[in-house]
């Protein structure tokens, strides 16, 4: 069946099965592989996206249920040149290791800061409780979200991507404050 939705502001239309999951639609039809899949029981959160601005695990939504709606994935959080404060904070504070859980973590944290720019630690944990990470022990993830909240409150956004032009691995990392 014909399914159409807006993904990261771009109209995406495709013939798809009624049983296709939104996560598969995003990955296979829209070709946006930043939305990951780590389980088949809706536990890991690696597939987290925003559906009309609200956090969903895209493996729990059928593509047809998202028809006509707006989807935001990790690729849509910053634009091509800018990083969102959350992405910047995960970079700056090293909120990741293997990085597989990272898109889901960042999307969940982004949604939290949209509705509450000044979350306390418990609120951060509650917002990310559906996102599993096997590498980091969450220590730096919590720190990244706290830092992102601070940047958001201070209105420090967006992060022009001098960030992008600066090569990865450069000693000074992203621009902004000195490390």
């Amino acid at each position: 069946m014909r399914v159409q939705m807006e993904i990261n502001g771009i109209r995406t239309e495709s013939n798809t099965d009624a049983t296709t999951l939104l996560s598969d639609f995003i990955r296979e039809e829209a070709g946006l592989t930043g939305t990951h899949a780590g389980c088949d029981t809706s536990n890991c959160g690696a597939c987290t996206v925003l559906l009309d601005g609200r956090v969903v695990k895209s493996c729990t939504v059928l593509a047809v249920q998202a028809a006509g709606r707006k989807v935001t994935t990790i690729e849509g959080l910053g634009d091509a040149n800018d990083l969102s404060p959350v992405q910047y904070a995960f970079w700056k504070k090293h909120g990741l290791q293997c990085g597989f859980c990272t898109p889901g973590m960042i999307v969940s944290a982004y949604a939290l800061l949209q509705r509450n720019p000044d979350p306390d630690e418990e609120e951060i944990r509650n917002a990310l409780a559906g996102n599993l990470c096997r590498c980091t022990g969450y220590v730096k993830i919590v720190e990244s979200v706290r830092y992102a909240a601070k940047l958001t409150r201070e209105g420090k956004t967006p992060f022009r991507a001098a960030a992008r032009r600066r090569k990865e691995g450069e000693i000074h990392g992203p621009p902004g404050e000195s490390l």
Binding site: N43, I74, Q97, G99, F100, G169
Partner: protein
Amino acid sequence: MSSKPQSSGLNNLDPNAKFNLVGNQAVTRRDIYAKVTGQRKYTPDIGPGDIGRSTMWYAGFLVAPHPHARVTSIDVSAAQAAGYVTLVESDLPVGALFGIGARAYPPLVSSEVLYPGQPVAAVAAPTANEVVDALNLIKVEYEQLPYVFDAQEALQASAPQLWPGGNVPGGGVGENGAVTSGTLTLNLGDVDTALANADVVYEDTFGTSIQQHFEIFPRGAVAYWSGGQLTVNASTQFAWAVQQQLAAYFAIPATDVRVSTSLGGYEDGGALGNGLGNKSTGEEYVLAAVLAQKIGAPVKFVHTRLTHARTTTNRWPLSATFRLGAMNDGTLVAIDGIYTANVGGRGGAQGADAVGDFYNAYNCPNMRFYSIPVTTDAYSNGAAMRSVGEEQGHFLMESAIDELAHKLNMDPVQFRLKNMRQAPNPVEPFANLPYTTIAQPQALQEAMQAFGWSNLWKGWGVPSSVNGTKRVGVGMCIQNASKGSPFPPSTSQVQVDPDGTVTVYIGLTDHGAGGNTTFPLIASEALGLTSMANVKLIQSDTMYTTNASVTAGSQSTHNSHSLLYAVEDLKNQWFPIVASKLNANANNLAFGNDTIYDTTNPSNSISFNDAAALLTSSIKGFGVWQIPFNVAYRSTGARFAQVEVDTETAVVHVISHTFALGLGRTIFYKGAIHQMMGGSVMGIGSAFFEELLNDPSQNVTVTPGFPSSGSWLNPNFHDYQIPTIYENPDSANVIPVENIDPTGPFGATGIGENCIIAADISFINALSNALGGYRFHKTPIRIEDVVEAIQWMNSNPNGASSTSSSTTS
């Protein structure tokens, strides 16, 4: 030390040396931008366009739900009629076995199923969605056979025979019950006499459970053929082994097999997700290649959570019965340990590694160890999971040692300080090998101070605080683990282009640990660079790089030592050219601060880029590094933990954790520190929740829609719980100890596995302290075990003092 460390001339081992990049806290992961923006491609993200193709097929396994069964028939006709491509064992090349460890095996069951989750058939479909449909069309009939899950039961003569002659891989049990081989026996001094003369003898048994990596990204591969040449993009920590096994399987030269981690090439060679020891070799690499050959199109295989949990590898359950002897002054005089490793349906002869913890960690003149691996139907394959047995071995060892200190009523820190192996001159006692380095007693002392042990420790079984139903206890442990073994030489290359670009080629990958920053960092430091901005990395791709062994065993930093030799080789090609420009002697030239300069007249220098511009074409240095064979290569540290337990709810919470680990020298600072934190939290899962479960009922009628008796119970994130963001401790304090290892690059030892080893027992010893000194015997410590401990404590109000009456001889 008996072996003189080799030197590349560039290996600065001065403990006070100042570096540009080594240990620099500002250095950020090189792949972090790609990861925060979702650009990084992991194996499942590879589409046909990424490999220059227009189509791709998708594959999956059908796995046996039974622990032990005979396959009586497989009917794939319906799947084939629907247009899917199927594989069963008889479709595979005759005699082509695949596997590591003691047991090579066909990648699909030939007749007998040995564990729940063994692959019986594979299918490929033109879309990912159809894989499940295709699998559902395959009909397999089984004759169920009696099975055995427990290692001790499997050793009985009446047990189902999974391994000929006694279920001991590599050996068997003789008529008198004595195990003939496949076992390990070590003997030092006179254990029986020492135990007879000891003031205190403590005897107990401890055990662990089957655990699984449950990395968020399951294993997978994309395979495709171009003529007779095979390419496999695999999520593997060991591209070299996969290449060799594929070449052997298809009987083609290894040069016709290209294996790369993920897509390979510039900075994408390390995108395999976490590895934790699970991503080594696997049947999907072979089966995807066979299917791709059959179909004539690329085939992508990604494990489902079920097949990942039950078909790939697991951490084997290990148990040990100890008799420890000590004198009243706290001197450890005898260790007698009998270890049993349940290695699963096709595990190798494992178990020896964990024994090594004990004889290395404690200095004791009389030690005897006996270790036996046992084949069971409980799970697939006992193998590495963030250490090869040491994680389990440390729980066993540090439970027993802690309890011995308890019996002696001696401060557990003082007991370790008195008995642990430490500087000066530590030696591995059985083979008499000198350690390359040791962080003890420094690690223990630093961690103890940072934690504030002397204020928090109130005695055995006496919590540091009690507030209503909440009791807080403290505990500690040490660690001393093997760091891999001397594999074949590790090699790498470093190239400089005339425009000043540096390219590092190394066959090691990055499973999140930070290798893709560590490797270029080491090369850049050796080249005297102050930034890695112009340094590219090509890693873990058998086409572009050379063998550097496996990215595992906490040894990849150590193995990247070859980079210093590659830079040395580069110097020999480059410096004569630079010398003529500078009117200097090439032997006097050195790299430093983005220049090449004359050491006899430092102002006579040329910038790195100008020196590169003297080249007419790229030059490449080749480096070889062989870990010395005649030394003990150990990682050592200490942990302290503070744990709260609510005696009303039995809920346990880790309040704080202090962890000091000898890193030799910290190379990539953030990577190292963050791994230490992550591994420690992973240990919370190991301590309190993680256990892969089977239905223990034999021969009951199968409920329609459910797997049979004896099958898996929790192969998913819902029922197998790993630590969530709620579990991480309120404070995680990690302390890198710099104990220069002369065999490592810039003195580094490596890190990886050591981040989790012994984490669980530090929490458990603290929980024991909170609960009157109750001793837990088996991980994971589930809530019912905590309830039992609380009940014991309530009925033994003087718990600690009542159990401190030791068995005296």
